[in-house]
Amino acid sequence: MPVRVEAEVKVWQRRDRNKQLAIWGGWFAGVLLFVFCWQIISGNTTWFFVWDSPRIAADIASRMVPPRWEYIYKIWDPLWDTINIATLGTVLALCMAVPVAFLAARNTTPSAYIVRPVALFIIVASRSINSLIWALLLVSIIGPGVFAGTIAIALRSIGFCSKLLYEAIEEIDHTQVEAIEATGASRWQIMAYGIVPQIMPAFAGISVFRWDINIRESTVLGLVGAGGIGLQLSSSLNILAWPQVTLILIAILATVLVSEWVSAKVRHAII
């Protein structure tokens, strides 16, 4: 226990001197990094606009109320599209994520040195590129519309779903698999009767969870032309129709809250 002698009286300390110095140094480096980063940000900022922002915010807020309720007849369609993008995107993603997950899990992969790294790379690549960037890419390849949005959501979700699924596969109880093996089952039968029943609850939970996230993400895909309510949002913003923007935001908020409630209910029922 670190003890310091001060005027011949032993004083207890929580840490000894070296540790204390190391912690102080860590904090110092952290603050230094923050200040350095702040300098760069502030150098790229027009401070006049920032000081002017309260006035602008008040201005926008005053234009945003009251919401234009009649506009709601025009957003049912895009809302339906948004939900479709999220749902079909999730389904497509799951179709592709299941094989990737089985290839990436240590206990089911056919080869740990060749196939597994490829599967892991697919997971990382899909996870690190945001759905909006996927959409940007797909809009320029297959043209604007709901289809590009669906594919973008699907590509983005593969990584998330496979990652959680392969972790679930790695955590299964091996004795059940062994029991099926002992009956002389083939490779596929082992999978169907030994592994799949064990990961089914995790699978259902993951898909509903990702569906909830995808609803949120599909609301903005329209900003780059990939369909859904975002398209309406961006056109309303472009013509500065702030009352419409308010209504769209309310619609998005309601959709997201409902989807969150549904997903929480379903996950609660499963677990």
Binding site: I41, V50, T87, L137
Partner: protein
């Protein structure tokens, strides 16, 4: 067991279904089938297959842009390094620095704000009005996508990384405060009570009774959020909030697919590195 008699009579064993109630199960199956037919129809009817077909070469060109990525491709093509290529590299570097600085500052600011809000959103230590207010802030921050928030911040603070930084800080609040509040709600009340019994004041109580219990998880979550913030910093640029996203958008707009591919590879690399190292640090802390 009733099943035994049936089995003895020669019925085959079947896997038990995931959903036990047969009516609910079939209802769900049929509902899902109807929905998929309707949804697929409404999506596929709009697709312009001609356009998709025309776009395929572009897709191939983009994929080709990865092999090799742009700086090397440029060297192979021209035998040297052009001025234009150098300029593009500088652009990518600038975007990257902006993204990284944005990530660091927004995470720090986000943590500073989300700790008090997280305290306020924990039902066991905050009074009801404070609880409702803090939960409201968290709900708003969580329901809107970063990009929507970024649009408003860009309108208010002008183009540039400042708006992006504020957006990411705001998004951090929803994430970190919610998880911190849940952690505080599930803490061990015995330790907190013991500190209270010594006659501590509220700040002392938080500092010695609550904080040590939630600190490891808070550090872990902050590191995780650092990751997420970098990933998100690559998209807020699409609506003008600075960072590598604006460089990427420019590359797409100019049809410079090899530059875009390079940027994406850099993003994947950094995310991979960040995820790996933060995973290592978190494993050591917990």
């Amino acid at each position: 067991m009733a099943d035994v008699a049936a089995t003895a009579a020669g019925r085959r064993w079947r896997k038990p279904p995931l959903i036990k109630n047969a009516n609910l199960r079939w209802g769900l199956y049929i509902g899902a089938a109807v929905y998929f037919i309707l949804a697929s129809y409404s999506i596929l009817v709009e697709v312009n297959w001609q356009r998709v077909y025309e776009g395929l070469p572009r897709g191939a060109k983009f994929v080709g842009g990865f092999f090799p990525p742009f700086p090397f491709a440029n060297i192979i093509e021209t035998g040297g390094f052009e001025e234009l290529a150098a300029q593009r590299l500088i652009d990518i570097g600038d975007g990257l620095i902006e993204s990284l600085t944005m990530t660091v500052t927004s995470t720090v600011i986000g943590i500073l704000i989300s700790v008090p809000i997280g305290l306020g959103a924990a039902r066991n230590i905050a009074p009801m009005p404070v609880y409702l207010l803090c939960r409201g802030i968290i709900a708003i921050s969580r329901s809107f996508q970063e990009v929507i928030i970024a649009i408003f911040f860009v309108a208010m603070f002008g183009f540039g990384p400042f708006a992006g930084m504020l957006t990411l800080s705001f998004a951090t609040i929803g994430f970190l405060s919610k998880l911190l509040a849940e952690d505080i709600e599930s803490m061990d009340p015995g330790q907190a009570e013991a500190i209270r019994a010594t006659g501590s004041r509220w700040p002392q109580w938080i500092n010695y009774g609550v904080q040590p219990q939630v600190m490891p998880r808070l550090i872990g979550l902050s590191l995780y959020r650092l990751d997420i913030n970098f990933r998100e910093s690559s998209v807020v640029g699409i609506v003008g909030a600075g960072g590598i996203g604006s460089t990427l958008l420019t590359a797409f707009d100019r049809y410079e697919y090899s530059t875009a591919a390079t940027i994406l590879l850099i993003i994947i690399g950094i995310v991979f590195f960040a995820e790996y190292s933060s995973g290592k640090i978190r494993a050591r802390l917990q």
